[in-house]
């Protein structure tokens, strides 16, 4: 198991839990999606797993390492791509990849290998020699995604992986994620508002609302359970039941 989330809780104000004792797990090579309305607690959950925020209570184990007790070990196993993230605009694309690769390894051969992989994957070609300032949003997203997977992390956490991208770019990225999961056994924790995307690439889905995980299952299981034609309907039924 790559990720085990156990009773994870985060409260920013006393008595109000943004994330309320949630538990789920992700297996090796699995694509797991966390879906939920705005303010449901998705980003807080992801930020805790990415060791950016400290849990108020509970824990999560990434490759057996606790996010509370061994955050630095956790960071060696994961990569995180935040929603609407940017990159250092004054850097060239290739320099950004070298800079990030250098944070994961001190060995130049390994760094070169990571960068080569990212270069092959992002498809930006000679544009990598340009400053990131000149990149379109789609180009930046491709650069960041290739950065997120170049080190073959055990778990890649992608928040709104394709947000703001055109259909072709979004399809490209979805294919890449699926291939990395199937062919290289990489696990993914995704967060998205795009139900179609989640339905296409996810193995399992967790629906989160008001800080609680309401249900977890494969797409087919959830459709059956909630008698829904697609994931959008599943989401609507699960969340509206909770609101009532």
């Amino acid at each position: 198991m790559v990720l085990q989330v156990k009773d994870l809780t985060k409260s920013y104000k006393k008595g109000v839990n943004a994330v309320d004792s949630i538990s789920f797990d992700i297996n090796e090579g699995e694509i797991f999606a966390l879906i939920g309305p705005n303010g449901a607690g998705k980003t807080s959950t992801i930020r805790m797993i990415a060791t950016l925020l400290t849990p108020t209570s509970g824990d999560a184990l990434v490759c057996g390492n606790s996010i509370v007790n061994a955050p630095s070990k956790v960071r060696e196993c994961i990569t995180y791509l935040p929603d609407e993230a940017g990159a250092y605009k004054t850097m060239k694309g290739i320099d950004y990849l070298y800079f990030m690769a250098g944070l994961y390894s001190g060995d130049k051969t390994v760094v070169d290998k990571y960068v080569k992989r990212a270069v092959d994957m992002c498809g930006l070609g000679s544009r990598l020699e340009e400053k990131i300032n000149n990149y379109s949003r789609g180009m930046i997203r491709k650069l960041l995604l290739s950065r997120a997977v170049m080190t073959r992390p055990k778990l890649a956490i992608l928040d709104e992986a394709t947000s703001g991208l055109d259909v072709i770019n979004a399809l490209d990225i979805r294919k890449t994620i699926k291939n990395l999961s199937r062919e290289e056994g990489m696990s993914f924790l995704l967060s998205s508002h795009n139900m179609l995307e989640i339905e296409q690439i996810s193995d399992r889905v967790g629906v989160i609302s008001q800080g609680k995980i309401l249900t977890v299952g494969t797409i087919d299981d959830l459709k059956r359970e909630f008698d829904a034609a697609n994931l959008e309907e599943v989401f609507e039924r699960v969340v509206s039941n909770e609101v009532r």
Binding site: S72, G86, Y88, K89
Partner: protein, 444 residues
Amino acid sequence: MKFGNLLKKELSQLLTKQAIFSMIFTCGLLVLLGQIMGNTMENIETSSDTVYVVVNDDTQFVKDMLDALPDYGTKATVVKADGGMDAAMDANDTNSLIVIPEGFTEKATNGEKTEVELYTRLSGTGLANMVEDSVGTGTTAIEDYLTDYVFHDRLDISEDDTKLANDPMMVVDFTMSNGRTAKIAPSTVSGLMMSLNAILPMAIFFLLMMASTMIMTAISTEKIDKTLETLLSSPVSRINVLFAKMLAAVIVALLNAVSMMVGMVFYMAGFIGNGAKDMAGELMASSEAADALASEAMSVPQALSELGMSLSGGMFLLIGLELFISLAIGLFAALIMGAMATDAQTQGTLALPVMFTTMIPFFVTMFTDVNNMPIPFRMIMYIVPFTHTYTALGNLLFGHQLAFWLGFAYQILFLAVIMYFAVKVFTSDLLFTMKLPVREAKKK
């Protein structure tokens, strides 16, 4: 390796072409100002030796008078002004002309009060121009000659008595400071202090503003762009990220401080190092008595040293160190403020506290001595750590050692406290959860 990688990235982001340009610009500007002031001093020295005279009363009396002027400390060069005063000034590369009007000889020899016309063209509004324009132009020498003529030739008084009557008293200037006394005009010393007090705090102010804004923009941009989240979820410790940022900012600030202090040394040399000519003597050079006094008066560096006001290498080092501590305080404060940014709008608002705390003491110390303010205001001013940097030079020069060292100790303490908070912000959830309180209030 990882830390080096981080540091390299931070330095490459801070040491942009604009930052390097402004660093060279500050240093170059001070060197240039020093050169200008040095040249002005040289001009004053040479221009006060020679006066240009337009003679409209062409008599033997006037000729004799002009020939005798070197004995009174001034050489007269007769020039034509047929094309107007401006043209005559241009032709002789001067900004002042003395005109001996028609009827001058008649009045002088008949025992009437004479008059000469003095034309001075203002060369500009700058400090150097004003100093240059205010220098005497040799009318005193003519006046002295006429006095001698009245006493000696008309009243038939002996030469010695004439000299005595002409100059019965001599004022010997002494300036006191730090419990010491030096034989120099106080205006010379205070003029120098004024120019120092205007330039050094201004340079410090711009340096503080620039460095703080630089780090605040760097951290807030990383937060807004979410590159900080990417960076901190990679296998590097937050302390390493923080210290790489700080070290890079400190290196850049240090480069700024060093370039500024180098510029300051050149600037100072323009005032006091230029041939070590005595400013006091030069400003009074046209009078024989003043010449005698000038030969006895001390040179500016000598006098400042005698008054315990000279800027030794140690003092420059201390001021540099104080400047460095101020910069570090500004940088840590800017880092904390920058961490509160949530968008481009708050980024601008967050710059205000740093701007005010650097700007207010700058203006206050420029116009008044903080030590002379009422106690409550003085306390408020001293709470702001940057005040101590603005007053450091004055404290050192005027021997306020206790005030200097107390300020220094306070700054170190302040640095330790703010550093502690910066580390706390950077290693906790605060980095991602902290927001500008004002915006929260607005939302409510």
